[in-house]
Amino acid sequence: MLAALKRLWHKLGSPRWFFALTSFWVSLLGWAALLFLLVGAVWGLAFAPADYQQGNSFRIMYVHVPAAMLAQSLYIGMGVAGFIGLVWRMKLTDVFIAASLPLGMVVTALALFSGSVWGRPTWGSWWEWDGRTVSTLVLFFLYVGIYALREAIADMQLRARASALLAMVGTVNIPIIKYSVEWWNTLHQPASFGLTQKPAMPSEMWLPLLVMVLGFYALAGFVVLTRMRAEILHREGSARWVGEWIAGRRAI
């Protein structure tokens, strides 16, 4: 078991092997995302019961909660990838950071936007300086910082190392920022979903949410893998296997 894991770890150093492995996973995740998002959206938007206090506006939750969860997960994923990249000098980790950075920014913006739309009927204003809102906004700025840094460095290897370092520093700071901001001021309802406690809503409401969360993560996996594969083709453009792969595609 351990030997197999070690072998996998070494193989992950090879972009070519990763590329071959993921052609199956991309299509699997793509179809899973389509299925989950369709089922979750129809179930959540049309069939889940309306909230006794918030009426139908609570349905924004089915976009807002998965987006906010994904926004944090992607940044932490970048931090972990940055750590692996700095310690083991693995090529793929920077491909992962490059692929998930724009997606993370978009998802964080989506979480902020959907939260703002939800805040209008619930809290009575488009923007409240609420703790969890602010920590998401800061998360967005952390993404922007890494993006700006990547734009500023021309050399690919140095860019990889600098952004890996910053992603790590940001990841260490995320919990500190999150808890201090929430301690500072919170109006927000507590998180709808946690790993440890039972959701505070009936199953007709949270089951579609669970499906939507799975759908968002599958979609993220699909997008990140697709972008990583494109990036690998771009970076390894001069390698023989890329030429062979393209020739194989042309033949079909």
Partner: protein, 224 residues
């Protein structure tokens, strides 16, 4: 070795007085701008405690940011930084002494000047010790985390804006607890919890930031 490093830093500081004076001038100038632009926040005695504490800390953050930009620049341009990292037996100590001197030339001076600044911004005299304590515990974090951003951006022609983008979000916890400490003192509440948190954040930054700075400096040196 530590002694000679610190002596060198001290000599530089004594000869380049602008590194100490300019940020302080900026700090007081921007406090004046605040008083002129928003007299309701500063001069009038209405809800002053809360907003004065917030303004004070925001200005301290911006002053630190301004001073951080030049933190490694001169040594980087002259090639001395590279020599220092190559020859030092423990590069960690070299970086740490640089950070310590940076703090001494900005954070510590801000602590010394804090009574004047606080009175200018309309805080009560009883709050002055608490303000100094808050700054003493909080400003090391600014130098330590700021050093990470400065180390990564030192190779850029115009690194200032990126530096701000990188480090200001990291300053947030210090801003929150620092401003809250001053506000609590102004309202006559107990401010020890905030002081403990500020010290804790500083100690955490002290443990990790020099390593990250070292990694950042190595990246920047390769960029040359």
């Amino acid at each position: 070795m530590i002694g000679s490093l610190l002596r060198r830093e001290w000599q530089i500081l004594r000869r380049a007085k602008g590194a100490v004076i300019n940020p302080m001038a900026f700090l007081f100038l921007s406090a004046t701008l605040f008083a002129i632009a928003a007299p309701a926040l500063v001069i009038q005695q209405t809800s002053q405690g809360a907003s004065a504490a917030g303004i004070l800390w925001t200005l301290v953050l911006l002053t630190q940011l301004l001073a951080l930009d030049g933190m490694y620049r001169r040594d980087f341009d002259s090639g001395l930084l590279e020599q220092l990292l190559v020859t030092a037996q423990v590069p960690f100590v070299a970086v740490l002494s640089r950070i310590f001197m940076q703090w001494l030339s900005t954070g510590f001076i801000i602590v010394l000047a804090s009574p004047l600044l606080a009175v200018l911004l309309g805080l009560s005299v009883e709050t002055l010790p608490a303000t100094a304590v808050a700054l003493l515990l909080g400003t090391p974090t600014l130098s330590l985390l700021g050093s990470i951003g400065a180390s990564v951006t030192v190779g850029f022609n115009r690194g200032g804006v990126i530096l701000a983008l990188l480090v200001l979000p990291l300053f947030l916890p210090t801003l929150i607890f620092g401003a809250d400490l001053v506000e609590a003192a102004q309202a006559g509440r107990d401010f020890m919890p905030q002081a403990y948190v500020l010290g804790l954040i500083s100690l955490g930054a002290l443990a990790l930031a020099p390593f990250a700075t070292l990694a950042g400096l190595k990246i920047s040196l390769e960029m040359q």
